[in-house]
Amino acid sequence: MATSPLFTDLDQIFIILRNWLVGFLPAALRPATGIVLEVIAIVCVFPGLFALTTVFERKGLGRIQNRLGPNRVGPYGLFQPIADGIKAIIKEDIVPFSANAVVHFLAPLSLVVAVFMEFAVLPMGRNMVLVDLDAGLLFFFSMSVSTELSVFMAGWSSRNKYSLLGAMRAVAQMISYEVVLLLSSVSVVMIAGSLSLPKIVDAQNSYTGIFPHWYIFTPWGLAGFVMYAIAATAETNRSPFDLPEGESELVAGYHTEYSGFKFALFFLGEYLAMFSISGLGTTLFLGGWSAPFSFLTFVPSWIWFFSKVMMSIFVFIWMRGTLPRLRQDQLMNFAWKFCLPYTLLNLIVTALWHFMGEGWMRWVVCTAILVAVYVFMGRVEMRSEHFGPRRYRYAE
């Protein structure tokens, strides 16, 4: 498809802008300044998105529950995040008397820093990636794992039983679902043959007719995506996996003892983690910045990336508005007895897909295996004694 220079320019507008800005400097400073500009862009864009998401989430949840949601500050309540921000800044910053002050201070910072690092390897458009690491996926996961440390730092240093319980729940949950998250993305790596995220996007950026070669449109990709989505929800502590901060039993979980701006940082960290994990899911399964139809390729690539991320965020909010919180044992059972075996099976199916070569046979075989096992596990195994409603025993 012939694209006009205008659309090519629009597609690369941020790169052009950066090069133009950097052009004012002597040549020796240009690469470093370019990187700094990109970092500034990331650090501005995603918190901005976070601010918008908080208000849209509250409005969306309101609509789901047939309420109006916030509509007082500014037109349609759009300035609500500004009011929230001012409130967070002017609130008193309370550190519990017996808390470990240093760790208590460092926890929200290290969380936000680690989450920001995840964006470094995400390709947000054509040529728009901060660092194209060969092992970008690995880097991403190592950063997302280190948020667990921050969560536990927060819970432990607060010296509060709710905080500690919340942190322990968070760590147990995040470690369990991390396995599923990793294994479901491994199948993508097996097919794409690379850990570099731009290369994974390139592998999906081709079309049969008008339809794209996204991995979600393959049997193993769909199964992997569903598992990835479940694990991502658990990983970001979003409802229905929001046990670490279940307010009905744990006040606010690991950030019970945080107030003011430190609390805002935790909040920011949670949403940034949501963005980054949606971005990774987009990159792995939804073709990253590639257009959904071949005739739409003229639309700038970054628009596609951000619209896919925002769609994922909408699904996150939608699930939060629908599902009640799980119980801890249900959560663990689901991770280890359903998700993990199923993603392992998905790995085998992916290998099968790879070795069966082109043709319709592999579609039938892979789909049949995945569906059969899903039905079997859902019907038989998940209904067995171990998974069903808890049997209560009374003292006699």
Binding site: R63, N66, W318, M319, L323, Y374, M382
Partner: protein, 234 residues
């Protein structure tokens, strides 16, 4: 111990057959796929989300300061004093009998009885309150003062926007602040006010009839003896 066991026994009996005979299949139907319920729930919430932009009936929220719904007739907030006519001071129905002051459970009514008397709605000479204060920060809106008042002088108001920046003086209402015309009473509680008016009218008619009868009797008496002493007690 035995009592405790007896209390615990029923759940055991209910619980056991459910878990042993049907296993865990009580809540989910046999042929449902795993995740089907979640999808159904998601469809329901999606319907809520999108239809709330279309149909106004889904959004039941009343945006209060701008939008208001009329208060129901039986609504009650704090008491007020009813007066007849145009002058609140002259028309107050209250005769300072102090029953409400004595009956008030949180003791938030303060009444000073007058030394002199003035005629009430039937023309009978009555005391009147020189002070009638209600501390609405104490009042619990129980309506007992209204129920005990024999003179239909105190009624419940529906005004609820009473916020003030003066915690003490601002919430202590004197008789002038409490006085509301009978027309106002009609406007907020029409049914009840009409009943009250009918009752008062009846009473007044009775009194007037009695007075008339007494006057007639007096006149007849005056007419019967040819030479009565002039004047007489008024």
């Amino acid at each position: 111990m035995n009592i405790e066991r007896a209390a615990l026994a029923p759940p055991l009996k209910i619980q056991q057959p459910r878990t042993t005979n049907h296993g865990s299949r009580t809540t989910i139907s046999e042929d449902a796929l795993l995740g089907e319920g979640i999808l159904k729930g998601m469809a329901e919430t999606a319907k809520n989300f999108f239809l709330s932009y279309v149909s106004k009936e889904r959004l039941t929220t009343v945006e209060y300061p701008e939008q208001r719904i009329p208060t129901v007739e039986a609504a009650r907030v704090f008491p007020f004093l009813v007066y007849d006519g145009v002058d609140w001071e002259a028309g107050l129905r209250c005769v300072a009998c102090q029953i409400c002051e004595k009956e008030c459970p949180p003791k938030c009514i303060y009444i000073d009885k007058s030394k002199d008397k003035k005629p009430d709605y039937v023309g009978k000479q009555q005391f009147y309150p020189t002070r009638f204060d209600i501390d609405i920060s104490v009042c619990m809106s129980c309506q007992i003062c209204v129920e005990v008042c024999p003179f239909e002088a105190i009624k419940m108001d529906t005004e609820f926007e009473l916020a003030t920046d003066d915690r003490f003086g601002g919430l202590l209402y004197d008789r002038k602040q409490l006085a509301r015309s009978n027309e106002y009473y009609h406007s907020i509680h029409p049914t009840e006010a009409s009943e009250v008016d009918a009752r008062l009218g009846e009473e007044k008619a009775k009194v007037e009839a009695k007075a008339r009868a007494a006057a007639e009797a007096a006149a007849a008496k005056a007419a019967a003896p040819p030479a009565p002493p002039a004047g007489g007690g008024s």
